[in-house]
């Protein structure tokens, strides 16, 4: 029984990371109707930004302080927002009026470009590095159960950002513009909305989310390398599809469900090596039987 509870805790902890990454995927999709595959690499860049910023911030504010950690996270998010906007400007904007498939393939290209450039030994190198401890963490033990304080931080940050994003998209002027662009960007342009600015903002916001997710992921497993984003990125993409791509609460739900399923599978001897297979089987099943996802509404393809 306690093992079952422990696995639920493990699953929620893992799932909330997936959920956090999935939020970024789903938001960009919601506005632009395209999957930004470079999202998982921006996540990696976020972790590395924090890796390089931490010693400098610690020299200023002392080691492992809460304000220092927040400063590192915010600064990395800002850096990654810049990177995200730059990627959009250089790679996606010139293709704005091309078929969606062109942009999708370009996104895969951008992703590979970042991964392999960073692996070069004069850039970051392929070696795994130890991610610094940003703030003190402790394990709470209770009746044979263990909860790590980092997992609680991840879950609260995910919920907080979900609420924040919902507020931005539904209740602010920029959010209204984002929804208008999502609905029909030609009409939105005619209404006087600066489309380039809205799309740029969306990418910036999505990339900032990726940076936060990257740092929290690195805190959980403190070994970072240029390919660290690939595996959680794919899971988060599946989580976004599972919840209904384009739907913010759906992404969070999808992440939690996927994390829990994977964790339960991982704990069963003989099934544990099919952990990755289970994630992909879910993707196939969802696409076959409920393509709009758990919380999504099916809409006819716009031509």
């Amino acid at each position: 029984m306690s093992q079952l509870l422990q696995q639920t805790i493990n699953g929620l902890a893992l799932g909330s990371i997936y959920a956090l990454i999935a939020l970024g995927y789903t938001m960009v999709y919601g506005v632009l109707r395209f999957i930004n595959f470079a999202h998982s690499d921006v996540l990696m860049l976020g972790a590395f930004a924090a890796y390089f910023l931490t010693p400098r911030v610690e020299a200023l504010l002392g080691p492992q302080s809460i304000p220092g950690a927040i400063l590192v996270v915010v600064a990395s998010a800002v850096i990654c927002a810049g990177i995200g906007m730059l990627i959009e400007l250089l790679a996606y904007r010139p293709l704005r009026n091309r078929p969606k498939l062109t942009v999708l393939i370009t996104a895969i290209g951008v992703s590979l470009l970042i991964e392999y450039t960073c692996q070069h030994r004069h850039v970051l190198g392929a070696e795994t590095r130890r991610f610094p401890t940003l703030f003190p963490s402790s394990d709470f033990h209770w009746q044979g159960l263990t909860i790590n304080s980092n997992d609680i931080v991840v879950l609260s940050v995910t919920l907080f950002l979900l609420a924040g994003l919902w507020f931005v998209v539904q209740r602010t002027k920029t959010g209204t513009a984002m929804r208008a662009v999502a609905f029909n960007h030609h009409a939105a342009a005619l209404m006087g909305i600066n489309i380039n600015r809205v799309i740029s903002f969306t990418f910036g916001l999505g990339s900032a989310l990726a940076a936060v997710a990257g740092i929290l992921y690195a805190l959980k497993a403190p070994g970072i390398e240029p390919l660290m984003g690939v595996q959680p990125g794919i899971r988060a993409f599946i989580a976004a599809v599972l919840g209904g791509i384009g739907n913010l609460p759906g992404a969070a739900l999808g992440g939690l469900v996927l994390g829990a399923l994977e964790t339960f599978a991982g704990g069963i001897p003989g099934v544990s090596n099919y952990r990755d297979g289970i994630a992909f089987a879910i993707l196939i099943l969802i696409l076959m039987f409920r393509p709009a996802g758990l919380l999504g509404k099916l809409q006819p393809e716009k031509v």
């Binding site: 093992q3 893992l14 795994t128 595996q231 069963i268 001897p269 090596n273």
Partner: protein
């Protein structure tokens, strides 16, 4: 660009590509002996490749300082495999065909040695792998040798260690299903451990190399209440596994194979890897052999850096080759092959090496423990 200038460019490009091919194959007449080496100097397993290369280079330098072989100087021609699949075949072909290497030294990773071995076998050029432990490598043919032990031996060593030193009755096995090395070690460990009555495997779980979250499996392992956990994997995964095991209060000894040996194990794992064990080829603290001299020479050559097992094996691979050239009195491939196969009780840095009929080295293994952020020598286990 118009069509004509395109043609010119293509012609120039073709000329540039053909030029190196004009060099005569084989540089033996130049009064030097070329030894080919292929190693992962960059990429994922760069730590291993660089150590191995440094050991080999030190051996060649020492041999030349002592006057070379058969009155000729040695030249080490090194090619980088970038830790990538496919690259080994290309560079080894080049080493044989263009550089005229008398023998090929390499690689660390079994998968890449398996790629190059058929090429060396077909060309009839002896190949010596410093540290590929998968049994299949030398099965390729009679020109393929190695100076390290193989996985069945390492698995058995760890099984004996678990029974005798750790006094564990129930052991959990945690395997990386993506790696042949890990699966092989797990299999041989299990066979060795269950050989005697009264011992059992508590639970067997798998992960995919590169995973970051192991808590699901570790929770199940904790539930099975093992006395110790055998995790044959590479150092990055090992470090993360140890960290998460500590978080879950799974406080039993973990132990693995030579894939654990890297400074990064402690850098990433920190406190959490303290007290855990692994088997490897060599320890600078072990008695006997040429260990002490080698450590001094290596430290002098590389700014005080302490050699690891890969460096020692890289050194031994070159020294075994030199020994065979001396005994056979020739660099002619057939004679060299015969001399290598005849190696008996050679006093190497990593222990006494005898090449057995399957062209593997019969030699001892050492057990190390992580203690105060360093590797502490525990015991030597002979076959």
């Amino acid at each position: 660009m118009n069509a004509r200038s395109t043609t010119t460019w293509i012609a120039l490009l073709a000329a540039a590509l053909l030029l190196p091919g004009c060099q005569p194959a084989g540089n033996q007449s130049g009064g030097e002996i070329v030894v080919g080496e292929y190693a992962s100097l960059t990429g994922k397993e760069a730590t291993f490749g660089i150590s191995s290369h440094e050991g080999t280079l030190l051996a060649i330098t020492e041999l030349n300082a002592a006057g070379g072989l058969l009155g000729k100087k040695l030249r080490l021609q090194t090619e980088d495999t970038q830790s990538k699949a496919g690259e080994s075949a290309t560079v080894v072909n080049k080493l044989i065909a263009r550089d005229g290497a008398i023998a090929i030294l390499g690689e660390v990773a079994s998968s890449r040695s398996l790629e190059a071995a058929p090429i060396c076998q077909q060309a009839g050029i002896p190949m010596i792998s410093p540290s590929s432990t998968n049994p299949k490598v030398t099965e390729t043919g009679d020109f393929i040798f190695r100076v390290c032990f193989i996985d069945p031996f390492q698995g058995t060593v760890m099984a004996n260690f678990a029974r005798k030193t750790l006094k564990a009755k129930r052991v959990a096995i945690f395997t990386d299903v993506k790696s042949d090395y890990s699966k092989g070690l797990a299999k041989f460990f299990k066979e060795g451990f269950l050989k005697e009555a009264g011992y059992e495997i508590a639970v067997e779980l798998d992960f995919n190399g590169g995973d970051k979250d192991f808590k699901a499996q570790l929770t199940a392992i904790k539930g099975a209440k093992p006395d110790a956990v055998f995790a044959p994997c590479y150092y990055t995964d090992a470090a993360l596994i140890c960290i998460q095991a500590r978080q879950l209060a799974l406080n039993v000894p973990f132990f693995g194979g030579d894939g654990w040996e890297s400074d990064l194990l402690m850098k990433i794992g920190g406190e959490s890897v303290e007290g855990h064990y692994f088997s490897t080829h060599y320890s600078p603290d072990a008695d006997g052999g040429k260990g002490k001299e080698f450590v001094e020479a290596y430290k002098k050559a590389y700014n005080g850096k302490l050699p690891d097992a890969m460096a020692a094996l890289g050194y031994d691979s070159a020294m075994i080759l030199a020994d065979a050239v001396k005994r056979g009195g020739s660099t002619e491939p057939q004679k060299l092959r015969a001399a290598l196969a005849d190696t008996q009780n050679y006093d190497a840095v990593t222990g006494r090496i005898t090449i057995n009929p399957s062209r593997d080295a019969t030699k001892s293994a050492v057990i190390l423990q992580v203690k105060d952020g360093k590797f502490k020598f525990i015991e030597t286990i002979t076959p």
